[in-house]
């Protein structure tokens, strides 16, 4: 059974914002990445799934249940970490977490303690006095404390330092081993690549592609920049290179293909410097678009 399934899910806020015809299938037990630049429609999709906003058309189901009609049943099984965490004034972390736990008919105190220990969170501190990172930790505990079957994470790592991000990924992987399905939304491709099985790419409210991470890595895109000595270049061509930009002695392009062929080709030039890096998400999107338009 699919944990999440949407068919032609559409929500419009006006002329340009919202989501359009989103077809998403997240299988039970997988960690699914949902990636796109800010404003692409990730949060809108998530909020529609959670019943915070209402779809205009299409279908949205979680564990086979309709996201609007059977919202309460779904939410019993779902843990959600919003992209920005806001909690009540004058509440200590432990009070907030107990309040959160009181909505589920199970004892969550052991899990709260385990998660807080793993994240190094002081439960007796007032939330309003906490740093953004610590507030995020409260959010993580709050989303996981009832051991949900589905965990929805919207930009979960913002505010967490790299070490804490690693701990967080381990926690998510543990939850996944326990059997939880995870929907992980982010605008950073590399962090999605770290823990996800599959990834869906969204831009301007439309789903561009759904891919296995392993395929994405096999066909990984590289951003190549090289500078040549002496004379400026007039042209550069290579199979697999797109978005080629030549400015004087500098050449930039996105490359997908055999690395040996690439190195062989650029080795023919009198090189001053070569830079091979991971392209930004925007650059990958540009590439997708140029592929699509061909």
């Amino acid at each position: 059974m699919n944990a999440i399934e949407t068919k032609k899910l559409t929500k419009s806020y006006g002329k340009s914002r919202g989501i359009m015809d989103i077809d998403l299938e997240v299988k039970e037990g997988e960690i699914f990445g949902f990636i796109g630049p800010n404003g692409a429609g990730k949060s809108t999709t998530i909020r529609t799934l959670l019943g915070l906003i209402h779809k205009d058309s299409g279908e949205a189901k979680i564990f086979g249940m309709d996201c609007e009609g059977e919202r309460e049943k779904i939410l019993k099984e779902t843990g959600y970490l919003p992209s920005e965490v806001f909690y009540y004034e004058n509440m200590k972390a432990i009070d907030l977490l107990r309040y959160s736990a009181s909505f589920y008919k199970k004892d969550c105190s052991k899990k709260i303690k385990e998660l807080a220990d793993a994240l190094g969170l002081d439960l007796n501190k007032k939330i309003e006095d906490m740093s953004l990172g610590n507030k995020k930790k409260v959010g993580i505990v709050q989303g996981l404390l009832h051991s949900p079957r589905l965990i929805i994470l919207d930009e979960p790592t913002s505010g967490l330092d790299p070490l804490m991000q690693q701990t967080f990924f381990e926690l998510i992987q543990e939850e996944n081993k326990r059997g939880a399905t995870v929907l992980f939304s982010s605008h950073i491709l590399s962090e999605v690549q770290k823990i996800c099985d599959r990834v869906a790419i969204i831009k301007d409210g439309r789903l561009i592609q759904t891919q296995k991470i392993s395929e994405l890595q096999d066909n990984s895109y590289k951003k190549i920049t090289f500078h040549v000595k002496d004379n400026p270049l007039d042209e550069f061509q290579l199979k697999g290179a797109t978005n080629i930009e030549i400015k004087g002695q500098t050449v930039r392009f996105i490359y997908r293909g055999d690395c040996n062929l690439l190195l062989e080709k650029i080795n023919n030039y009198p090189l001053l410097n070569v830079d091979i890096s991971e392209p930004s998400l925007e650059e990958i999107f540009m590439h997708y678009y140029s592929d699509k338009n061909k």
Binding site: R47, H54, Y80, Y87
Partner: protein, 265 residues
């Protein structure tokens, strides 16, 4: 129960401030009554009042009231309590409906396994409970303040009817605040629009007092649903009791319907 407990706790601080204000208003206000019988120079206080422009008397809720009598004097204070209760009711109503959205905590509460109607219902119940408690305090403080005056005059029934009328009118504004906060798209403007209606109703109440026959205006200003001239004679207009209750019910029912469909963002 968990939501109810949290709501009552969250409302407590503001409630205490309002109760302190209410205590000061009623006790300090009532102690001035002993000096009301006659003003400096031995002139009758009603005669002095009649020299004021009518609009001034209307603003202070003194039109058609014998301020030299205990029920008449109490009617003026009760008018101020009514204004306070309406302001407090609006504040409670707006908070019950959209505070979580304004404070951006809605992503917490509305992703818990409870229906939206249940959460809204508990919030409305908690806030309305605070409003009722405010009016119970008003009733008790009024009884005590009058007893302290030791005039020997009994106006318990007047005080009770005033408490009922204040509850009805403030509950109507409370319901209006809930409704408007929910139907207006920009949630932060719910308070603004309800306050504008409150001010318009207040101005209409003044206009009503200025006119000889303002029956049409009376319908659109809840401040005049229950008039001092009736209440001091222990009369409560049954028709307007029904109007208040029916309007409040319709506004609240419609609030639940609209809230279910509202996009929370």
């Amino acid at each position: 129960m968990n939501i109810l407990k949290r709501e009552l706790k969250a409302n407590l601080k503001v409630f205490i401030f309002w109760i302190i204000g209410l205590f000061v208003l009623l006790f300090a206000g009532m102690t001035k009554f002993s000096g009301m019988g006659q003003v400096a120079g031995g002139a009758d206080v009603n005669a002095v009042m009649s020299k004021f422009p009518k609009v001034v008397l209307a603003v202070f809720g003194m039109v058609g009231v014998d301020v030299a009598s205990l029920p008449g004097y109490y009617a003026i204070l009760a008018y101020y309590v009514l204004i306070c209760a309406v302001i407090y009711g609006i504040q409670l109503g707006v908070n019950a409906a959209v505070k979580e959205i304004n404070d951006k905590t809605y992503e917490f509460i509305f992703t818990k396994p409870c229906s939206r109607s249940y959460v809204l219902g508990i919030k409305i119940a908690a806030s309305w409970f605070n409003l009722i408690l405010f009016i119970i305090f008003e009733f008790v403080f009024s009884l005590l303040a009058v007893a302290f005056l030791d005039t020997g005059e009994q106006i318990n029934q007047v005080i009770f009817l005033y408490a009922v009328s204040i509850l009805l009118v403030s509950s109507l504004f409370f319901s209006l605040a809930v409704f408007l906060s929910i139907v207006i798209k920009e949630v932060e403007k719910g308070m603004l629009y309800t306050n504008l209606i409150f001010l318009s109703a207040f101005v209409m109440a003044i206009v009503y007092d200025m006119l000889e026959n303002g029956r049409v205006i009376k319908v659109i200003t809840p401040f005049k649903y229950f008039e001092a001239k009736d209440l001091v004679k222990s009369r409560l207009d049954g028709w307007y009791v029904l109007v208040c209750m029916a309007l409040s019910m319709v506004l609240l029912t419609e609030s639940f319907v609209k809230f279910k469909k509202k996009d929370l963002k």
